[in-house]
């Protein structure tokens, strides 16, 4: 494996508080050094004007394999991840069949190693068949590679099952990730319940359905001492509940998705199912609260809830189209647009929420550029302007609500285990426009 020198970039490693211009040396699949030259590298990447950071980590991805390979496969989904700068991801167990056994988890790990794209960590189901009745074999799931548990797609509706899961998962120090929503309050729901749903005549899903389960699960984590992670938090009240829970010392964490801090239920006015997801897009006051939670650390990480659905499934009557949107290839630019450009976060703060914080949640040895750590690196061009065009995505699906948006910032290279596995190709470069001065090199180039 060749040694790589990434030269002249702005090196950001929030795990160690680093933000400075420095060279990064990789070799043998590991980070060799920062700064001083060790030896002459076989590959030199010019990263002047670029951000060089630990490979991004997305804790909430649906890869659809096994069962719905027409929507996405482990190979296509991990390819899309790399194009978005994501070098490690945790995939949800709502496949067919569900990832609820050691063998199923091992299948995911095996397919990911065959694909040789991004690292994949399976998340095991909480309950057998995700039916919400009996605990799955959590210990054997861990043996098969599971890093957390969830019945995502559906909540663990039963309070007693959730309590048992939180208690039992402590044995492995694994987190239980919860899609918080009281199912009885959202039967038939298509979008957020409020003025917009009333006006469109579409059945609504009230914010309270999320708030109630967030409150319940924080209390359950409190009495069990277990770790609960609130997935795709979307309401103002839920953010406040998590903030208050943390203040009391409860082991609760939360993630937010880019669509929940940039879009609202007003987008449903066109009846386009690409704006239909669960939890649904809420109101501007919820968006503001989610941003506030991101800024003050209540929400410590960002995740995509990448949920591919083929065009024929999405291009239907809105109540029959499935929930969910893809997000891996828009995570970075939409985070820049929603959080960096308005001044809510700095680049090191954003990168912390995409690297070290998700790594800590999953308990995986990723998200840092400390010498000796895995050589997973993302190189970002923070200034490149481009237009989002889902037809050019590597994901198999096109269900993206950001089509046509003019954005800034893009991953131009992804390195996994010391291998360059993604490089923005010359075709793509033509569709992007550089706004930086000419003396800075537009994209990384390698020699040798």
């Amino acid at each position: 494996m060749s040694t790589i020198q990434i030269r002249g970039g702005r090196l950001i490693d929030p795990a160690r508080g680093i933000d400075r211009e420095a060279d990064l040396w990789l070799g043998g699949g590991r980070v060799l050094a920062i700064g001083e030259a060790i030896e002459e590298a076989e590959v030199v990447i010019d990263a002047r004007g670029m951000i060089v950071c630990p490979g991004l980590i997305d804790v909430h991805v649906h890869l659809r394999e096994p069962g719905n390979e027409e929507d996405e496969t482990i190979a296509s989904g991990t390819d899309a991840a790399l194009a978005g700068g994501v070098t490690s991801l945790a995939c949800m167990p709502n496949t067919i069949p569900a990832i609820d056994t050691q063998g199923a988890a091992e299948f995911v790990v095996l397919q990911a190693s065959r694909a040789r794209k991004a690292n994949v960590y399976p998340v095991g189901a909480v309950s057998k068949g995700r039916a919400g009745e009996e605990l799955a074999e959590l210990g054997r799931l861990v043996a098969g590679g599971a890093v957390a548990f969830t019945d995502d797609g559906a909540p663990v509706a039963s309070a007693s099952l959730m309590r048992r899961a939180l208690e039992y998962a402590k044995m492995f120090d694994r987190v239980v990730m919860q899609h918080c929503q009281v199912p009885e309050l959202t039967v038939g729901g298509v979008m957020n319940e409020g003025f917009e749903s009333m006006r469109l005549g579409l059945p609504g899903m009230p914010a309270a359905a999320e708030d109630i389960m967030v409150a319940r699960d924080i209390r359950l984590a409190e009495i069990t001492g277990g770790r609960v992670h609130i997935q795709h938090i979307s309401t103002a009240r839920s953010v406040e509940l998590v903030r208050e829970g943390k203040r009391r010392g409860v082991r609760v964490t939360a993630e937010a998705c880019p669509h929940h801090f940039t879009l609202t239920d007003e987008t449903l006015r066109g009846f386009d199912a690409n704006f239909k997801m669960n939890p649904p897009l809420r109101t501007w006051s919820d968006v503001e609260a989610v941003i506030e939670g991101i800024v003050d650390g209540t929400i410590e990480l960002l995740a995509t809830d990448h949920a591919p659905h083929s065009t024929e499934k999405k291009m239907r009557e809105i109540d029959q189209a499935p929930f969910g949107i893809i997000g891996l290839e828009t995570l970075l630019p939409i985070s820049v647009k929603g959080l960096i450009e308005p001044g809510h976060l700095t680049w090191p703060e954003l990168i912390a929420k995409l690297t070290v914080n998700p790594a800590r949640l999953l308990g995986v040895p990723k998200g840092s550029l400390a010498p000796g750590s895995d050589a997973d690196v993302t190189i970002i061009d923070p200034d490149v302007a481009w237009k989002i065009d889902p037809t050019r995505f590597r994901s198999k699906s096109r269900n993206c609500p950001f089509a046509g948006w003019d954005v800034k910032g893009r991953a131009v290279m992804a390195i996994v285990a010391g291998e360059i596995r993604y490089r923005l190709d010359s075709d793509e470069k033509k569709s992007t426009k550089h706004e930086r001065p000419k003396h800075a090199k537009s994209t990384p180039t390698s020699s040798k």
Partner: protein
Amino acid sequence: MNLAPASTKAWHRKHLLGIEELTRDECAAILDTADSFSEISRRSRKKVPALQGRVVFNLFFENSTRTRTSFSLAAKRLSADTQDFSAATSSLSKGESFIDTAKNIEAMGADVLVVRHSTPGAPHLLAQHVKASIINAGDGAHEHPTQALLDLLTIRRAKGKIEGLTVGLVGDIAHSRVARSNIHALNKFGAHVIICGPPTLVPRSMEPLGCEVAHHLDDVLPRLDVVNALRIQFERIHKGFIPFPSVSEYLHFYGMTIERMRAAKPDLLILAPGPINRGVELTPEVADGPNSAILDQVTNGLAVRMAVLYLLSGRTHPHPHEHDDHASGIKPRQRSERRAE
């Protein structure tokens, strides 16, 4: 053709998807054109060649009798070829998608698709995928524009105006496309709208649509010039969600009975979009009584649908000179000014 020229000039749309996006002038254009067409229905020979050679398809993905029949008859009176398509006899049961079904029908040469569907936005989705004009004949709980227009026409004829009237929409507002379209339409014409029903069917959150919310009919009844008694949409109410304890209790609070009529203005106009549940929204004495305009609504519905078909087809007509005054045989009532509203 020289039919209500001021009206046709106000109309430039390819589709009729909802009332909300229409201007007051556009609504008035349809009502004025409908007034002209009403005359045809009173003739012994009830047919004009305005839409000769055009094809109007009724695409009904949800049950309907009167709306479909009304559109069919309206198209026939304009000499269009009409064809009905209902979901029960279609390939939808074989798994064909809704959009593919519509595209197939368009490939048979349809110029206008009259679409009814249980999903809000379904006609809007079709409008993005087919070239034909789309008329929304009811999309879930969202809109039912021709129903609101025929309600307006009925009120305008009975009262001579719409502006300044207080109109009560009573019953299941939350699940009602008729309510939404009526609220938008009545607001455009300056009427005051009161929606009335139990909080489970008339949520406070509807107020910003432009209406007053009331839960006790007896409190607001004396102020009303028009009552539109909406049907309980049992088919849109989910299992496990029963919005009131019993039909008897509903009738007690909201049913239009003879006793209630005594507390109302003597010229209170009674409307109901139908089909009516006799004994739930209205007692038979009220439905068939002197204040009821329920059957006028049906007659006016035909004229409104003729007007809509005419205005949409006129816009997209490939040979605009083919049908002039002589060909149409219509001698429209000339309107130098619109009726006071």
